[in-house]
Symmetry: D2
Subunit: 433 residues, 4 copies
């Protein structure tokens, strides 16, 4: 049997590159973000980077090109005189959903674009990076703001790139590993959930929009919210706890489930988190390091909102609202936790020193993703960023093991449809007092 | 050409029957609700009452039988010794979504049940009514509460029966009328929208659960909510205003639309409210009295949440939250307004003496339908009533021209998916101050 | 439990009416065919006659109206001066597929037309019958030919009416019976299949188009065909033989199946003929007299071409070609056999005195439905009759228990898609010599 | 704008390699076929070779591996002691439809397999080729027959590889070219179609199964067929003639179309052959050399059976039966004509010296693909080769510009569904005399 080339180790250099906010200048910030994307794509073949495994996912090549198109379009084209477009036909390919920017390639056909190749997309990145870094010193403030936005935008796509590759590899019957990972050291199981109580009252949540701290438009305005007395768990639900839910028939009892969730369970024959599989009677999970035994102490991940809600119902409690979550997380450092640039593999890890609210898994809240009071989208194409997705989705908080460190913050509002679960999504419980 | 039998007039007797809450005794209440359902179905043929026009809708016969099944199952079977079930095979046919009550006929096959006939379903109703009315005096309190719940449940289905028949008739190329209607007297156009301002602050919303006032479980508990300064319109948007939105290209400009809404517009080729059609260059609408010229002064109806949201965006404002709506409506009498038992036809009508918050059209709010703080579903099968639908839907408030008078109240939370529009749904605007 | 009205007996008067070709005059022929349709529809409620159970089927009301529209359009409108159209809006509803006759109501929405009612359609029939019978004596020959065509056309729809009602009733969980049937007298099992050998050589098949014998256009021209040496079975396959195929794993072994057939088996979870169900470990079938124990001696029916082909493959033989079938059937009387006007129920019956080639079940041949050499469709709208369906379908021969006696003949080419099986379809085997 | 790497010229070496049947030994035959596949794939990137553009198509990498799996499984595994399987997990990936060979990767997920890479598949080919060529001298006769079958099997996949790549490239908005092609020299238009008459009578068709001449099982047995008097065209229909059909409204008039064809035209908005597009008012076509002006003198290609049949109907004639075609082609040399190894580009070319029956385009016949009299599939897995596809498809004859020279013969029966048109399919007319 031929030996497939072994999966590479997670690149050490990336780890350094992954703390871009430490650097003080925008130049370093841009260079750091841009090089991290390349480092993440380094182990990918041209084919790995081209195929689209489902309509929710995009090819890695597309992520690399789309984030570049963002800088080229909104910064270089609009603000840099004499900039020469890399290829006039590519905006059609690499625009995502900005209706104001004209026609786009159909989302479900992104995987058809075998040309340009991955190497040609890397040349595109180099072309735009050179122009962008050269222009930085003389950019007007509005354009500099767009550069900062572009960096955060690219960090979002870094997480998608990693989770989309995971999904693609899971579709391959050979189940290849992206990165090799060290053998696991067994850890102690976390103790029972502790509950952080809150007496209720008016709190302030949302992002204030101060000049030095970046936030996406949907995180503001900062505003008052009224909490009622409640308690929130000091850690997320573990794989071991989830296995007990399964063993108790959790996926077979409609009483735990929202009606839409139950329809989804039956239509898609759902009986465990995504990527879980029983091998010789024991649960395994597929991850970026291939298929491995399930770690009962680690946070459960790849569960949908429907599953999260059903678990909470089974446990006799509920999911936190996003305001409750933000109030609880406000005092914690968003840069500590298991993020993408940790030394170890990209996967949720057991924790010993909780409560922590950042990293590991995005936590489903019970809040629908809707505008904050006073929210107004930015004018122009960039304004299509978040507001237009405000129906049918739920808010997730906290960041995951695939989030670049520094990208998470207490006010951050991630959002997905209630059936989606190919991101590193998990569950924190809450209850009324 | 043969003359089709002319559509009957809306029955005068129904009008009387439609104020069941005026009567003081439960006996009269039950008798009134039950007879209204029969009056609504009176002009229907066996075939009219059997066909299912889409998966969201149900046959009239099914509504008549399902509401009867509710009383038979939860009251007679569970609380009346010696009750003889009408037909042991019918619960399978007429259970709707109560998983705890066992297997059900597939929702999308309800229209296949040509037998039992409409007359046999009427016999079923008579059988159950006789047993129910006879048992009333000696029912325990818990069972009496279920009878009250059953009446409100049936009122919900009365509205669905009427809107489902409208949808069915609209599918018939001959566009039959259910009821004939008098010739319209032209009315004055309403003046411009006036704005009712609110300074913000903590208010109480939701239903308190007092013994004398009925409410569905999802309306409570009564709780504090924080409003920010805002204003709410003193009337709903009219057909004439909507026609201006269309003429301004409202359905062709993605900037006004939520992303999911725009996908819906394109996939379903939406370019006007449901049942609107241009005939010889002028807008008409199909209603329970057939196809007629559009009345520009009447409230627009049969619009989806997506359309409501797009209209508000086009107008530079937004939809109210359900808390804002309830705070504004709290001081108004929920029994005044254009309800199903009005003398005229069942359709929204121009108003002259606003602000009014009840009747005419259900008003889309910007609030996702989610549980109130402290909400707990009732135990048992009846507890499946509302809580399990709390994902993916939006709240509507106020009641419509197809709502039985007395069924609406300030705390009432109706809910539908954002693309649905076969109910009498309309739009009230709001804005931040 | 209420007693549903018992199913009526099959009408005795219909039996008489069902031998229309016995009468010598066209007047009697028209009157006989038209009254048989009414007799078949007699036990139907308005709802029974209105619902469409699947896209392949049509409502009984539609069959009654469409066959009437055929006479009204091609005879009365085109050939009878001063004929007053019954309703100018109805052709849109009741045209089937005649593109040349203009726009039609979408086939999959036929079940939405609750109005006109069944009674109004009966009035339509009376109106057209009166005009048609009055005009008969003075019709030009071309129009008389269209009347004859219309009678045969209506006989086709009589068979569809019956099989469509059977399909609709099978969708009803209560499984109502259309007609009551006498208790079965057990019969002897037929002996093993006998084989009728043929030495091969050139034969003549197809219809010669003589003036006195009606045939559809696709049955001609009469032409030479070359047979190779073969043998054809002297009876069709029985339910008992089919049960052995099932017991031997016939539906689980892909080796017996055409590739498209195997895909169909897996996609639709096919494991027995349509309407078969195991009740307490024994096979039952649903028929026009309700659900009953399977008769092992009767011909198997409600099997698709895929199943017929798989059965033949399992048995080590093949299906006959249509030329082989026609050559073998040529010497037999097409009016003997179990047809719709038999005294007993409409279902295939065991036979004792074979070989017989007519009645009981339509027999799948291995021949794709394609034009005979020299075939040319008739000019005009009536020419759309058969030729345009000549792709993707297979030929069936012989007529069934739901075919009006006199409608079958040796040259008759029925055709359906290989997955369809709601007609009374069965299997006769053949083999090479 | 960056210069995409220019498309390579069609490899000269391939041209030599493409006449494998010239060589006398099986060794050279195997080596020639195997190297041609590699030459065809030479200009492909890893991504080009991995993506699946639709369910009918397969990735080039899959074709390269599947043809190799065929030799590995049916020759090396079954007949060569001590053969070491290249990778035990790959048969699951590269089995196509042989049910007897066990489970297979789902056909519609073939494009998910980014690993093994194209290079790894080339290593697989080298591994199997070495073992196969080494084993050839000592293989038993049955195994040598399987090697011959494997070569013809691989030639089929060579044609699919080329047409699948064309389809994939056509899905790319940049419309890349696989091979560069010389500038066209304008040619004379062919004259009007000439008609080759046949008096009718019994002819012999099909393959006799002689030891020296290979044929697929479905081509036999050789048997008598009866022709009626007819004439067949001496050339295929040209692009110019097809443009006249379009200009005459051919795609908008249902009278020309089979019913299924008309449904397809309307559902898929078909208005021209695949890959045709109007640019600045003139027709262009996309081919393996990119998008170019249409050559009116060349045979039309990429038309479906439905289109072919509609064209013939519009022209007042019909398609030939496969027996008529074979009788007419029997006297012509199947190695002359425009095949894949011609010096020029792979596309149909105008002809001047007709009648010719081989090369350029596969010609739709009016014959459904069904077994010949006496046909019996081979035993075992290899027997699944052709027989199981004998429903729903039509026979094409003659070979195309993408067929390897030597692969075509008079008895060859190609088959596709009537809506498929991504092969090089064209039209020859016939008529009754």
């Amino acid at each position: 049997m031929p030996k497939a080339a072994p999966a590479p180790a997670k690149p050490a250099s990336a780890s350094t590159a992954r703390s871009p906010n430490d650097r003080s200048t925008l130049h370093d910030r841009v260079a750091g973000v841009r090089s991290l994307s390349l480092a993440l794509a380094a182990p990918l073949s041209d084919a790995d980077a081209t195929v689209q495994s489902m309509i929710d996912a995009s090819p890695a090549k597309w992520h690399l090109a789309h984030t570049t198109w963002f800088f080229e379009t909104f910064v270089l084209r609009d603000h840099v005189a004499g900039y020469r477009q890399h290829d006039e036909r590519w905006p059609f390919l690499f625009n995502s959903y900005y209706e104001a920017e004209g026609k786009r390639h159909a989302r479900d056909r992104r995987g058809m674009v075998t040309r340009p190749t991955l190497d040609e997309v890397r040349e595109y990145r180099a072309h735009v990076d050179a122009a962008l870094l050269a222009a930085l010193p003389t950019l007007p403030d509005a354009a500099r703001d767009l550069v900062v936005l572009g960096c955060h935008h690219e960090e979002q796509h870094q997480e998608l790139l990693v989770t989309d590759i995971l999904h693609l590899f899971a579709e391959n019957p050979l189940e290849p590993a992206l990165w090799r990972a060290p053998r696991k050291v067994p850890v102690e199981m976390p103790g029972p959930i502790g509950w952080i109580a809150h007496d209720g009252g008016v709190v302030e949540i949302g992002h204030g929009g101060s000049a030095e701290d970046f936030a996406f438009d949907c995180e503001g305005p900062r505003h008052q919210a009224l909490l009622l007395p409640h308690a929130i768990a000091d850690r997320t639900v573990t794989n071991g706890e989830w296995a007990a839910f399964i063993a108790d028939g959790g996926y077979r009892d409609p009483r735990h489930w929202l009606s839409d969730g139950w329809a989804w369970v039956k239509a898609d024959a759902i009986d465990a988190p995504l990527y879980w599989e029983q091998v010789d009677g024991a649960w395994t999970r597929f991850g970026l390091d291939g298929r491995r035994a399930l770690d009962p102490a680690a946070p459960v991940t790849h569960v949908s909102f429907y599953e999260a809600d059903a678990y909470a119902s089974w446990a006799g409690v509920r999911l936190p609202t996003e305001a409750e979550w933000e109030a609880a997380a406000a005092g914690h450092d968003p840069r500590t936790g298991n993020f993408m640039d940790d030394a170890g593999p990209v996967e949720p890890r057991p924790s010993v020193d909780r409560p922590a609210f950042f990293g590991d898994v995005w936590e489903w809240t019970g809040s629908a993703y809707r505008p904050y009071p006073g929210f107004t989208p930015v004018e122009g194409a960039v304004g299509e960023y978040n507001g237009k997705f405000m129906s049918g989705q739920f808010v997730l908080r906290g960041g995951s093991c695939a989030t670049p460190r520094g990208h998470a913050r207490a006010s951050y509002r991630n959002f997905f449809y209630p059936h989606q679960r190919w991101q590193f999504t998990g569950v924190r419980l809450a209850k009324d007092l």
